[in-house]
Amino acid sequence: MEIKRRDFLKVSAAGGLMLAANADPALAAREPKQRLPEALGILYDATVCIGCKVCVSACKQHNDMPPDFSSTDRTWDDPLDLSSRTLNIIKLYKNGTGEVKDRETDGYSYIKRHCMHCVDPSCISACPVSALTKNPENGVVRYNKNACIGCRYCQIACPFNIPKFQWDKAFPQIKKCQLCDHRYATGGYSACCEFCPTGASIFGRVDDLIKEAKRRLSLTPGEWAHYPIGRVDSKHTSYRQVTPYINHVYGEKEGGGTQFLMLSNVPFEKLGLPPLTDKPDAAVSEGIQHTIYKGMIAPIVFLGGMIYAVYQNTKNECE
């Protein structure tokens, strides 16, 4: 069979044009999803965190996670990053001499990492079988092992590098934080918040958490203030001297907003958090996809073109 170069280019160009016409993200993006009114989440305040890692231990305990070893002598549960055995982790930012806490140069800061429970999650958008779903009420991003086909698109889609795959299992699953939603029924909440001694991680409705974060940002460094412990509406507080903050709540708008919010005095990109636009990736990619396939018109036209090209090129042989 011989395809004429000219014909091939003709068809390619037609297809390309068709895609290009639809592929302008600005035009194609669907409306970003909005924060659910009863969404639950966590506020992590790096300036309050003392790095005790009880959140890491409590998470392991209440989610039945095995220890994760990075050293050869297997003495500690010492993962270097999130993994299929570690759903949350406290990491260290250190610069220069690392003398002062929460300072960018010659200072250090802790940062807690786990699933952000995005308002408009890329993982759910990328999942071809709806193994990942967002709870319509509290917005927790859940994983269903029975639906999962193990394609790991969610891993590639997540801008925060959160879903982890059990590479060492014969029947692997995706593992990630599910905001301890199995504990709500018995009056519990996210173990990392429930056991945090300083109130560095607090649990509650995201609206309340944003309000609390804004309150902290409005405080003057040096003054004394109450910081709730456990839940955002807790009467149990720690009374401490306010330290400076960067005037930004990470997760309020990033990537269309998340349900895990952060405060810090070290720039968030230094703490390993990606600088994201306010537009969720899922809205853009879904916009492109859904426009291309709208009413199946474009694919059918494209298919018709392809068939025609093939027919033109094989006509002589068929006869």
């Binding site: 220890p67 500690w76 010492d78 990053d81 260290l92």
Partner: protein, 376 residues
């Protein structure tokens, strides 16, 4: 406890004041994790002569270490214990009579206190060859144990020998040394393991039984939870050194002198359940327990550890916890090649190629010299 009650009792107590006595009872209560108010209840129970529990103490294949440990308890002192708190009717080391008189005392106590006395056993029971390896008064101890256990209200196996078999059961176990609970199966046996155990773990158990007429809560290995509920590792004073990765590597090294963690010297704290770091040992003040003296825990009270695992072999961790170090925001895994490293490798490769080329050229020349016909 009223003052009047104490006066009738004080003669028996001897030099102990009412205040000291009540204090002791409260300490026992707290030691068992009970509220202070229970102290008064304990005092009442032990001063009631009718209720003073008869104790029969059988010794099998043992070293008397458990008795020695008990002799050195200071609250209460041993005389106070055996004269005022319990009625020690038979004990081979402590009995005044000996020989047949002692055996008679035992028989009589069993008869009088049928179903009421506490049976304490130290030492493991030899069962091989009809139990001939430990005979008392011409009878194998296994028979004596079975006879006595029949009528006992509670059975306490004190020491690791009675609890798990201990030293006598260490491989190749020539006497068929067996723990008590494997012989007495129709009654619950409380295990107070240790080599020797802390006397307070034993005393608290006895007093709990006397006071409440039931045994304290036991774990799945028959040990009282108040004493054996936590790993030594959990309450160890050297734990911060473990978390920080500061280990003594050999005896007498700098780290050992600094009091660092003994895990790498084979400390069995991470796999041994006992309260040594909390209540210490021997009433001689702080640091008076093996790890406090700078020697790794040997796991004497843990089944399958003491006398089974080599003393200086690494313990297996029951619960693995995070260290007090942190992963960095971006963990570097390998740093890539430096310019110097690339230069060295390139240089080496270049030299190898040059040498190869030279050799090849030489061979070629030789071949040409020899001519094609002579090629072998």
């Amino acid at each position: 406890m009223k003052k009047k009650d104490f006066e009738t009792f004080s003669k028996q107590v001897g030099g102990v004041s009412r205040r000291d006595f009540l204090k002791y009872c409260s300490i026992m209560a707290v030691g068992m994790g009970l509220p202070m108010s229970v102290g008064a209840k304990i005092a009442e129970a032990v001063t009631n002569v009718a209720k003073r529990p008869p104790v029969i103490w059988l010794s099998a294949q043992e070293c008397t270490g458990c008795t020695e440990s008990l002799l050195r308890s200071t609250h209460p002192t041993l005389d106070h214990l055996i004269l005022d708190l319990i009625s020690l009717d038979y004990h081979e080391t402590l009995s005044t009579p000996s020989g047949h008189l002692a055996e008679e005392a035992r028989a009589q106590s069993i008869k009088e206190n049928k179903g009421k006395f506490v049976l304490v056993v130290d030492g493991s029971i030899p069962v091989k060859d009809g139990g001939v390896y430990c005979m008392i008064g011409g009878k194998p101890v296994v028979e004596i144990l079975k006879d006595t256990a029949k009528d006992a209200a509670a059975i306490i196996a004190i020491g690791s020998c009675a609890s798990w078999g201990g030293i006598p059961s260490a491989s190749p176990n020539p006497t068929g040394a067996t723990p008590v609970h494997e012989i007495i199966k129709d009654k619950p046996v409380v295990n107070i393991p240790g080599c020797p155990p802390s006397p307070y773990n034993f005393l608290s158990t006895v007093l709990y039984f006397v006071t409440f007429n039931k045994l304290p809560e036991l774990d799945n290995l028959g040990r009282p939870k108040f004493a054996y509920g936590r790993l030594i590792h959990e309450n160890c004073e050297r734990r911060p050194h473990f978390d920080a990765g500061r280990f003594a590597i050999e005896f007498g090294d700098d780290n050992h002198r600094k009091g660092y963690c003994l895990y790498k010297l084979g400390c069995k704290g991470p796999e041994t359940f006992n309260n040594c770091p909390s209540i210490l040992y021997g009433d001689t003040g702080s640091g008076s327990w093996p790890v406090g003296t700078g020697h790794p825990c040997f796991g004497c009270s843990e089944k399958g550890i003491g006398f089974n695992k080599p003393i200086f072999s690494l313990a297996s961790l029951h619960m693995v916890t995070p260290p007090d170090t942190y992963p960095h925001v971006t963990e570097q895994r390998g740093t890539g090649a430096t310019i110097a490293a690339v230069a060295v490798v390139a240089g080496a490769a270049g030299a190898a190629i040059a040498a190869g080329a030279k050799t090849y050229k030489k061979l070629d020349e030789e071949e040409k010299k020899e001519g094609p016909g002579k090629k072998g």
